[in-house]
Amino acid sequence: MHKWEPKSKKEKYTQRALTFAAIALVFWSALAIDIQWSTMGGLSALGSVIASFFPPDISYVPSLLQPAWETFEMAVVGTLAAIVMAVPVALISAKNITPSITIAYPIGRAIIVVSRSVHEIIWALIFVAALGLGPFAGTLALGFRSIGFLGKLLAEEIEGIDEGQIEAMRACGANQAQIILFAVLPQIKPRIIGLTIYRWDINFRMSTVLGIVGAGGIGYEIQSAMQRFRYSQAASVILVILVLVAIGEVVSARLREQVT
């Protein structure tokens, strides 16, 4: 805790200016956004649509089990594929052990940036366009997007490891591969497992919507139910998704607790 001091004049004015700018931005957005109020039915229409979601059509649930399982599989396979690819990416984009700071390091960083800068859904759209509809494209999209996330966090972890072990290995005459295998990987192993589980949880949520662009999973079911105005069916899809997400959260919390 640093000592409290009155704000300097400059600080005070920048703070005021920023606050003012933020408020102005909000009002500007509210005025500039093009919302056609006339086409909307008002509160009563909103209420009647929301009401038509109830009661959820429970009889629809059995037919959702297969897509729900597919969603689960997509998350598992996508995440594991990602971790397999992310470890080498992390190894070359960690400053302390990258084989070459001029070539490999920028390549690793570029992979991380490209993978992270585009949303899963957009990756899924691209993979669907290239490889066709279905869970194959969705799984690859999940995996590809996760490389950046896992690679970045693992690289940071590698940069923070105990250098002594590396030095010890090197002093024994180990080559680079042996150093990575016996000095680097054992130190980041718990983190690899923890991050994989964490990312799996995220991917599980993501895979519930990938079906919207045709990339497999339960998202397709909700999309088609909504398009056919079968709101009570859509409500049961939402229920299944809520259960899936809850399971994912509990499982990931339990597993992470065991690891650490």
Binding site: V26, I121, I122, A130
Partner: protein
């Protein structure tokens, strides 16, 4: 309690090589895991030849995306880009406003009626967080029609879970001394909130809001996929019409928007905290 015992024991236990039985069990576990994984991959359509052959169609697609149709940007993409931006701002504001009462309910130390309002607050946070903003988008498109308005609503509702959760955690971490001081001076519960709680969480509140905005920018770029306004709609249209060069131009705009908002949010959050 139980967990503490366990870690304590494992710390004391001396290291010993695994017994044959134990390592056999371990390898059996790996084997079962691998078998399940292969089964999953098979059912998802992962086949060896398909995996080997993903490069050709992917590179073919990227080839058709290049060069991006930059000329398409000034003529057709300015409006959806601005719309995406406006949606992100308004969605953030709506989410933050809605999340304030929810956070008040869901913070254990300030919740007005612990047995009633605390579970309500927690439920709202969990419920809104569990559904992806695209699903919220679909629901609101069904309710109020196409356009940016359902997008703003979706971002706002999804924001309750995000901002509300972080804000409630901040409120639970405040210094109780200040709350007690106001109460001792005769402040009523409203004054306790206003002068004891709010001043302590203002910086985090601003930080979380800015962070939420940065996430909203990403989300509003894809909400158009379900008809809820912004660049996503254009992206889906161009992809459906096989206008890949235009699609790449849109993806580039999204990347630029996301990068800018991420750095603005990082700078602002650095200032606040």
């Amino acid at each position: 309690m139980k967990k503490d015992n366990k870690t304590h024991k494992s710390n004391e236990k001396e290291w010993s090589p695994r017994s044959t039985r134990k390592s056999l069990k371990r390898y059996l576990g790996y084997f079962i895991f691998a078998a399940v994984l292969v089964g999953m991959m098979y059912s998802l359509g992962f086949k060896f030849f398909r995996l080997v052959n993903i490069y050709d169609p992917l590179f073919d697609l990227f080839g058709r995306m290049l060069p991006p149709d930059i000329a398409y940007i000034p003529s057709n993409l300015i409006k959806p880009t601005l719309e995406t931006f406006y949606m992100s701002i308004l969605g953030t504001v709506l989410g933050v406003l809605l999340s304030i009462p929810v956070a008040w309910f869901a913070a254990r130390n300030v919740t007005p009626i612990p047995w009633l309002t605390y579970p309500i607050g927690r439920f709202l946070i969990t419920f809104t967080r569990s559904l992806h903003s695209l699903i919220w988008g679909m629901i609101f498109v069904a309710a109020v029609g196409f356009g940016p308005f359902p997008g703003v609503l979706a971002l706002g509702i999804r924001g309750i879970g995000f901002v509300g959760k972080l804000l409630a955690e901040e409120i639970e971490d405040i210094d109780e001394g200040q709350v007690e001081a106001i109460r001792a001076a005769g402040g009523n519960s409203f004054q306790v909130l206003l002068f004891g709680v709010v001043p302590q969480v203002i910086p985090e509140f601003v930080g979380v809001s800015v962070y939420r905005w940065d996430i909203c920018v990403r989300a509003s770029a894809i909400l158009g996929f379900v008809g809820a306004g912004g660049l996503g709609f254009e992206l889906q249209q161009t992809m459906n019409l096989f206008q890949y060069q235009r699609a790449l131009a849109i993806i580039l705009i999204v990347v630029v928007l996301v990068t800018i908002s991420e750095s603005i949010s990082a700078v602002l959050r650095g200032r606040v905290t």
